[in-house]
C-alpha cells in the first residue's frame, strides 16, 4: 500500500504537502521491515532541518534506524503521542504514526523526491 498523494525518499520517509507545510512519516514498507518499534526520538519544535540530513531515530527491538528529512524547513509540530505509544508507527504509518510537521523553506524540494510509482520501483529493486 503506497498512497498516491505522498512523496517518498529512498530511505523510506514520506512527505505530505499542505500548502507550505509538509507532514513527515515512514512508509508502510519501512515499518513492516523494521517491526516492533519501541522508541522514537524526534527533534523539538523550532528545530531547523536540512533536506536529506538526519532528524531523528527510531528503535526496534533489534536495532536503531536513522530518519532523514525529505525537505528543509522549521519543525512546527511533533507527534508527542509517539513517545508513549511508538507502536502507532507500526499500526498506522501514514496517519497516527506521523512524526513531524515542517514549514518548508523551499517547497520545490518536493520535486527531488520519488512519486508513488518511483517508490514502488525502488522497493522492488531493493528487495530483489
Amino acid at each position: 500500500m503506497i498512497p498516491e498523494n505522498l512523496k517518498y525518499m529512498e530511505s523510506h520517509e514520506w512527505a505530505r504537502q499542505e500548502g507550505d507545510i509538509a507532514t513527515i512519516g515512514i512508509s508502510d514498507y519501512a515499518q513492516s521491515e523494521i517491526q516492533d518499534i519501541v522508541y522514537v526520538e524526534l527533534p523539538e519544535i523550532g528545530t531547523e532541518l536540512t533536506q536529506k540530513t538526519e532528524f531523528g531515530v527510531i528503535e526496534s527491538v533489534k536495532a536503531a534506524f536513522d530518519l532523514y528529512a525529505p525537505v528543509s524547513g522549521e519543525v512546527i509540530d511533533v507527534n508527542e503521542s509517539l513517545l508513549d505509544a511508538p507502536e502507532q508507527v507500526n499500526e498506522s504509518p501514514y496517519d497516527d504514526g506521523w512524526f513531524l510537521k515542517i514549514r518548508m523553506t523551499d517547497p520545490a524540494e518536493l520535486g527531488d523526491l520519488l512519486d508513488a510509482d518511483g517508490y514502488q520501483a525502488h522497493i522492488e529493486a531493493e528487495h530483489a
Binding site: 517491526q35 522508541y39 527491538v61 533489534k62
Partner: protein
Amino acid sequence: MKQTPLYQAHKSLNAKFTEFGGWEMPLQYSSIVKEHLAVRTTVGLFDLSHMGELEVCGPGANALVQKLSTNAVGRLTDGRVLYTLFCNEAGGIVDDLLVYRYADNHYMLVVNAANIEKDRTWVESHNDTGAEIRDMSEDTALIALQGPKSIDLLKPLVPKQAISEIRYFRFILGEIAGIPITISRTGYTGEAGFELYVSAENGERLWNVLYPEVIAADGQPVGLGARDTLRLEAGLRLYGMDMDDNTDPFEAGLGKFVKSKNRQFIGKRALSRKKKEDIARQLVGFQMLDRAVARSGYTVYQAGEHIGNVTSGAPSPTLKCSIGFASITSEAMLNDKIDIEIRGQLHPAKIVKVPFIISGQ
C-alpha cells in the same frame, strides 16, 4: 556462511535471516515481540543446531572434563547436566557450556557456535588422559521447545516415558515418531522447556513433527532475535558479549560456578589469587528509567564519571523498558543510580538484581 539442517524449513516459513557466529540463522519469523511473548505464555520452537557438540569418550574422559571445568563435574551422575566454564591459565573464560554425562566414559560438551573450533582445539591440546574427542557438531541438530505448554505438548509424543518427571538439568534417551533423541530438560529462556538433540539427518523430520503441534498450542517458531531478549530477561549471559577470554568468572558474576575445594582445574591458581583481591569490575543488570534503548558498547556514567560499558542491551518485551548487562567498576556498585550515554545524551538507569523476571523452569 554455514547453514543448519533446518535451513529449508526456515526458508519455507519466510524467516528473516541473520549471521551469528559464522552461521546463517533465522532472526525472526513474524515479530520478535510476538515470538518472545509466545515463549512466555505458550510455547516456542527454536533451531539451535548452530551450537557445537563435542563428545569426550573413553577411560580418560572423566579426568579430562574435570581438568577443564571450573564447576564440580565430578559430582555429575549419569543422566545429569551441569553448567560450567572453561578457563585459561590466567583465569579468563574460554567458553561457557553444558556438560552432559551419559556415562563415566561418555560426556557431551555443548558449546557456543562461534567457539566450536576454539573449544575443540582447547580440549584436544589438554588431552593427556588418552580420551577420544569427537566433534559431533556437523552431525547433530538441536531443536528447543520452550514455554509453559512445552511439557504438555511433548508428553503425548513420547508415550513410553514420563516426560513430566524429568527434573531440571537432567536428560533421558527417548524417541519421537521413531527418531532417537536426547531429551534434555534445559533451556536459555527462563521458562520450562526441553532441548532435543537429534542426528542432523533426522533434524527436519523432528521439526516437522513438532511444528504443527506448536502452532496448535498457539505457539510460534522463534528466531535468534527473541532468543536474545528471552535470555536477557532471564539474566543469562552470552559469551562474546557479556564475557570473553579476558573476563574472569568473578567479573562476569559467575563465581558460583567455580568450585575449587579438593579439586584441580585449569585456571584454579589464577582464580584463587583473584578471589582474595578486590575484583576491579563487575557485570551488573540495569534497567532504563525512560523509554530509550541501551545497546552493547554504550558508555555508562555515574555522577558524571565514566564507570563502564553496556555489554548487552535490548528492549524487554515483558517489562516494556530497556534492560541489559553492564560491566562497571566495583566501587560504582555502591550506588544504584547510573546514566547511559545514547547518541550523545545521558539517559537515567538503575542497577537491578538479575533475573529481571521470574518465570517457571
